[in-house]
Symmetry: C2
Subunit: 541 residues, 2 copies
């Protein structure tokens, strides 16, 4: 459960702006722009870059990222406590959309929502040594209440295994209490000392954490992949952000778990990966630590006093952490426009918004006085609104509105009579086009590498590498070492010159078959031992 | 914003069980039971009281309350940190239903969701002295991260005024930025040292806090009452829990605010009041403290260099803190039932559940083996499920199911062909009946008192008192003093003998008119000065 709200929002922003920039780069003649925007549109874009984002992401990704988040009003810096940020409505709405989808989907699977306290005693937190070791350096401790020192310090949850599993042990007595499937939407705290990054590395973040217990390993396995598929739907179908499904290497899996499945995303500008969400099978490791046992129904206590056979339950845990409105803007209102005309335009706009809303399309009007249409275009473009409608006195007489797509700048008059169906179709089309373009970029950056000599150069060209691998941890360490350029840590962190070592991102569920791995023949690209499967390697956040 | 998840859940439980007990008290001949239950039903009830609740609420309310919460699986005690509790799915679902309704309703009013950090620096928390004074003794402080002591301690939010308002000052520059309407769903921490009570007094609780800023007092006023009405809908229309709308006295209002509106509920068993939710107009007090100012659009900066007139915004804040499924149970399966018959019953049950779900009725089957129907009846009754359906081999042949209402024990066979419409109508009927009964109990316990001699005796008989009042704080103090029986504090806390002083709960929006208050004539019931309005007094949680 290492993904959080951060990753996602970054991707959304990156994605949104990536698409936006493509749409607006018609000057550079990229073929993705179906129409050359009119002069008027170009002017708006120039206005946008003045009022909006002052740097291109290719030039300074980090600054660009911060500007996008703040100026779109997705996020505000919280000055009082470093590493904490204010999630503003635009970003929170995305999170709520994800919640609505995912919450309904897991309820279909029989998962129930719960809320456990955010406080953990020291004793409880430290009950599972291996597990706490990973979190200990980042745990925030409450030691005072009012003016009194507490008897013993109390931790704020970095994750809830140690909070929940003692109660699993209490609630699960027989196989009839299984499966137990709980989920909670909550905040967690990891007091990192590395440089904080909005959304990427924050000290408090929102997430969902699912914790389930099953009678058999087969049931647990099935659920791991059901959840992974739901996470994929969130990223690809809702957010148009392509991901690769796979399994983590032994080195990269969740500590204490049996195996970890993952979604791996890709940030084209930096060529780095982002872990999007993970679904773990914990096996019986935690049930053994927390004594979550049932009597084997096939070997019950005998009448002769023979004890029933005990069985440890099979557990999973899975987590994911933190777009479509139409904006309608009055246009063509000049000093010659009569008050009556102006009122009729505004009435029509209100009517249009109402009509769209009744068709469950999120629509809003911007009737603010004293702001020019150009200012408003820019304002809503920055926020990533996919469709803009313009209505002026002339449109009124023709019973039409001008529709502008944010993703490709295409303008088209549409009859008001067909409004909802056309908007609805266009939103679907934008979603598909954005995903297809992003998917193509991702695919183009996954390079099949069969010789070590091609490995690092491909990474340096901001690609992922898909390569036959032996799956041994010492080989993974060696690949990391061999792919590191020995620069300062600051340079390594710098997106402009990613030089950190590559790690295995996952073993993709979908394996290449040209050439296929031939058992006993295909060699590992790094160590030359026999390769088991293709693995995806890359530099990652 | 003093209400929380606790109050509500307590009321729900109290309500649910109140109704349930009424329904089951047919032996005592209360007229509210439409049908005398059959012998079989009585047996189930006895089974229920063995497996379920072992004490009557009239005998030991406190123990009864704890048993209901734990045995219905609404809540679990959290052993590791005192004053914290686990909200289990049954209770969390209620909270989610409230969230769904209220979140959609405030969005209609233009409120947007946001998430501010839960951490506040000491400097920021203490910026508003009066405000912090009320919370200081209960603030939890984080002083360590990992093994490092922090430079200065950081507080966990007890409420978010001091977290949010500096950003209101930053974001609000002109009247065009108004209204600003933000809301967040979050956890807050108040480290109380009084005896913790599940839901009533907990150290961490979930709530929603709305914070809005307006251009005029009129707009702010309108919103205060819009929100109060939404809270009423939550309590009365969703939870069938009657409340009285009113205004808090000067003594009881939110410190630092202009005025506080409230919903006051009533727990019949103890005769004590519960504040259900509050909606405050903060006036301009906070905007002055946090410097949330705009330029008066009617007095802008002059070309002569004259400064624009500054205007402080008008602010509000409002908060509220933390049931209908149908359970279908196979019955009449005996040792003579064939496997084939059993399978047909289960198939029919699955079909019924699917049909109800597709009509948006929350339905569930209990097909667990090795549990008797009686055990299952009790299990789901404890959880407050309002309708039980029984299906057995004989029902199958008649294409019917037996429907049992939890609130009054009435049994009725209904044809499967009419299933969804009949269930839907019955749920509405149960909701209405429960509210009507609870409303009658509440109304019966609000006593019009025109002489002081009747004041305390009515309180001692577990009533509220509606009485002409001067609205002076010293008179309120005197009433409290005169209505206190001087027992130990423990006794005063004890629900069996409530002897604490009465406080003004609210000045009801709906005033009695028989007799009406005659200005210059009607006297205050306590001090004899002129009365302004009727006020509601009572002992309260």
């Amino acid at each position: 459960m290492s993904s959080n709200i951060s990753n996602e929002a970054e991707e959304i922003v990156s994605q949104a702006n990536d698409q936006a920039q493509k749409g607006h780069s018609s000057k550079s003649g990229k073929k993705s722009t179906p129409k050359k925007p009119s002069k008027k549109t170009e002017a708006h874009i120039e206005g946008a870059s003045q009022l909006g984002i002052e740097v291109r992401k290719e030039v300074d990704f980090s600054l660009w990222y911060k500007q996008v988040l703040r100026r779109s009003e997705m996020l505000e810096y919280y000055e009082e406590v470093s590493g904490c940020y204010i999630i503003r409505p635009l970003a929170y709405n995305i999170w709520q959309e994800i919640q609505n989808f995912f919450d309904a989907a897991i309820k279909e699977l029989g998962v129930e929502n719960t809320y456990f306290p955010m406080f953990v005693s020291q004793r409880q937190l430290e009950r599972e040594k291996d597990h706490v070791e990973g979190f200990a350096p980042e745990v925030a401790w409450v030691t005072k209440a009012g003016s009194n020192n507490m008897e013993s310090p109390i931790a704020i949850r970095p994750t809830s295994e140690t909070v929940m599993y003692p109660y699993f042990a209490k609630w699960i007595r027989t196989h009839r209490d299984l499966p137990l499937k709980l989920n909670q939407w909550c905040n967690v705290v990891r007091w990192e000392f590395k440089n904080p990054q909005p959304f990427i590395r924050t000290r408090e973040f929102l997430w969902q954490e699912g914790h389930t217990a099953h009678f058999t390993k087969e049931e647990a396995d099935t659920e791991v992949y059901q959840i992974l598929e739901l996470y994929r739907q969130v990223y690809e179908d809702m957010l148009a952000f392509p991901v690769i499904k796979g399994i983590k290497s032994e080195k990269e899996k969740f500590a204490g778990g049996l195996y970890t499945t993952t979604l791996e995303g890709f940030i084209p500008t930096t060529g780095r990966g982002v872990q999007a969400a993970t679904s773990h099978c914990l096996g019986q490791n935690f049930s053994k630590m927390f004594d979550i046992v049932i009597e084997d129904p096939n070997a019950p206590a005998g009448p002769d006093g023979k004890d029933a056979k005990k069985m440890y339950v099979w557990q999973n845990s899975w987590g994911i952490s933190t777009r479509a409105i139409v904006i309608v803007i009055p246009c063509g209102i000049t000093s010659k426009t009569t008050e009556d005309e102006k009122k009729r335009v505004e009435d029509k706009i209100n009517h249009v918004v109402k009509e769209l809303k009744s068709a469950e399309i999120k629509a809003k009007s911007d009737l603010r006085e004293n702001y020019s249409p150009g200012y408003k275009f820019n304002h809503w473009e920055l926020k990533g609104v996919p469709i803009r409608l313009e209505i002026g006195p002339r449109d009124l007489s023709k019973e039409q509105t001008l529709m502008i797509r944010r993703d490709n700048g295409v303008k088209e008059p549409i009859p008001l009579a067909d409004l909802t169906s056309r908007i609805s179709d266009t939103l679907k089309c934008i979603q598909k086009d954005m995903f297809d373009r992003a998917k193509k970029v991702y695919d183009d950056h996954v390079k099949l590498v069969l010789n070590w000599d091609d490995f690092v150069p491909n990474l340096d060209n901001k690609n992922f590498v898909l390569t036959p691998w032996c799956e041994e941890e010492k080989c993974e360490d060696s690949i990391k070492e061999k792919s590191t350029r020995h620069t300062t840590e600051q340079e390594a962190e710098d997106e402009k010159a990613p030089s950190m070592g590559a790690k295995s991102l996952c073993i993709p569920l979908e394996q290449p078959n040209d050439p296929p791995i031939i058992p006993g023949e295909t060699k590992c690209v790094s160590c030359g031992a026999l390769a088991k499967r293709y693995a995806l390697f890359g530099r990652s956040y």
